[in-house]
Symmetry: C3
Subunit: 128 residues, 3 copies
């Protein structure tokens, strides 16, 4: 944790730089001040098949799911969500200027009683 | 919202028309009467690696996750789920007639307090 | 149900045998004694785009999501999670020995009121 996973329609390939977006969202997650660098995992998956709105072939979407460990306040979670969504909105400004694009974000807590993790990156970064 | 995401075993490529299934599920979502056209986002992701049931290489699955905004009644959510699952069942009739296929659907609400969205498609379709 | 879905950074291709991992996790799910063989669906999705920790290109992750039907005790769910995570940890021992890898698992219940399923595999395996 935290885990930020993006799903997007494959017609965005060539219209959006998803690798760059992942890095910008990573920076937004860190800017919240709530998370440890070694734990941040942003990733994106293209959907080759999709059916969006009125099925215009130009229709496209990016849907983001941010999952975090329990224990943060609602205010903190909303603040992190705002930062992430603002970074995505900035990256997608051109797409949002066309009438064929939808952007979304859901934040969700992971039940710590039903969560397991091993992170070999933490010792390296904590030791710096 | 609403978001309908499918995960399926890659051995269905060539045995099922997943793009057509996405369009049929989109029609089922709209048939519920609960959602706005501009908001519907159906998509599908093939899993290249999988291990299903007794590991027979013919084993395959489609698992659907439908996420919607808060505020609808349980009756409405169940009704939308029924329509979506009926459409999927119809599309998968041949697959379900063989003893190697499993189909599933989960419906889940998105916490509106932890949800963000920008939809540039709405103004175009609302204006029609 | 049960559904075990893995997301992993695509740089693990060639470093990890994800197909073998799926089979080993399938065995762990069955070893819990809580699930019926015909229902087990393990699958894995590679993320071609990602941004992990300090963005070192060697950084990699596997994140597992295990979704099960309602009705099991918290003790049973934790026990199944332990078995799955132990199997993943064993498979990833070499990766975890390097300071560039993170492994995680979340277990979550599916609301049975908002769940639909048809399983054509069950009759075949139950009849054996």
């Amino acid at each position: 944790m935290p885990h930020l996973a993006l799903e997007y329609s494959a017609n965005l390939e060539g219209k959006a730089d998803i690798a760059a977006l992942c890095r910008e969202l990573h920076a937004a997650v860190m800017a919240s001040g709530l998370f440890e660098l070694g734990a941040v995992r942003v990733r994106a998956f293209a959907a080759p098949h999709y059916a969006v709105a009125d099925l215009d072939p130009r229709n496209a979407f990016i849907d983001m799911s941010f999952r975090v460990g329990q224990g943060r306040t609602a205010v903190d979670l909303r603040s992190a969500g705002e930062l992430i969504f603002a970074a995505a909105t900035k990256h997608c400004a051109k797409l949002l200027a066309e009438p064929h694009f939808a952007l979304s974000l859901e934040v969700r807590e992971i039940n710590s009683e039903l969560s397991w993790k091993k992170n070999a990156i933490h010792p390296r970064l904590r030791g710096q």
